[in-house]
Symmetry: C2
Subunit: 229 residues, 2 copies
Amino acid sequence: MQSDPDDHEENPRPRSRRLPRSVRERQILDAAVEVYAARGFHLASMDEISEVAGISKPMIYAYLGSKEELFVACIQREANRLIEAIGTAVDPEVTPDEQLWRGLRVFFDYVQRNRASWTLVHRQAAAGGEPFATEFGQWRERAVVLIATLLARATENAVRPMQVQQMEPFAAALVGAGESLLDWWIEHPEHTADGLAMRLMNLAWMGFGDLVEGRSWAPASSEAPANED
Amino acid sequence: MQSDPDDHEENPRPRSRRLPRSVRERQILDAAVEVYAARGFHLASMDEISEVAGISKPMIYAYLGSKEELFVACIQREANRLIEAIGTAVDPEVTPDEQLWRGLRVFFDYVQRNRASWTLVHRQAAAGGEPFATEFGQWRERAVVLIATLLARATENAVRPMQVQQMEPFAAALVGAGESLLDWWIEHPEHTADGLAMRLMNLAWMGFGDLVEGRSWAPASSEAPANED
């Protein structure tokens, strides 16, 4: 589903010379995420990134450094965006189950709308070897701690409130479950983001014990998706 | 925690010349799993594998082929062993929750006792690039289908029996949760295999909905581990 490289020649992006540095940097990062996600670190070329961005190679080097530094900057921006999206979606004023549901829903929805971002952070970072695997590991650890914090906060008023540290292994399990479901999704594209979020919600909130007894979870909010099954 | 390479010189393994081929092949694979897990595919050397196995390089090439073929043979043997261990541990005669518990327990216990095997299959296969990432992906897919089959079979007599296909996304989530918890374990070695299996059991069987209400799962079997919390 990659666009034909020749497209760029037929429809060259405007090479405006008076844009502020922050806009240029965003354009470079946008292009680099796309190219690194499609090719991986080793096969990606600065020529292609330059062409997709519509910004000269010397300017890319001047603004964001080497090919390696640019790749790290991409991982940082994209991982940060995903973590922020989840963090801001979770409203501490709603019930614990609704909080978990909102977090899961935003996660699947975000990745669906930013597939290149996810591929870069989750797959190409690990496949690129060091120092990228370590960089990814640090962001993933940050995500686990964030999820553990959100889970612990959600249980504050429950019968059995949980501490962040207690929640960490559960958060690690949940993050892995989400990553794995996204991989599975690639081979089963007939599923929707909300359908997968709902499955993970049912697994994480209800558990198999309830599911096999015919009890499943349904959101209280009115904009609820229909259950797929 | 890697052994000093010099150990091999001080304590050379016997280079017996009359062992049957199957025994030699096992020795080669055992050594190769150890070396590949410690070094990764690219940095591993056939010299070291030969030294650890106590078998000459020409014999390794004759029996198991190139460095690449040997790596694939290692992935195949180790992935197959883990999948078989889980499959045979799950007794269809016990209750669904007990089946899930036994599967999870064997998974964490197996990986604890075969850490090099897990590192090779799970980390070095992906980091080694192609064709190893694809080889790993196929084994992982096989594991997901096995888990989905076990989960579906476990619900046969439940109020709401599940089909294998319905269980697949849950199985994918569960496999990812297990992988992620194992990664998390490396940074938190104070936890036991049974402790982590119990956490994943509580997440998967009970769900957060029950946990925050103070309801957790406990095995019916007498050899149950004490809950860590």
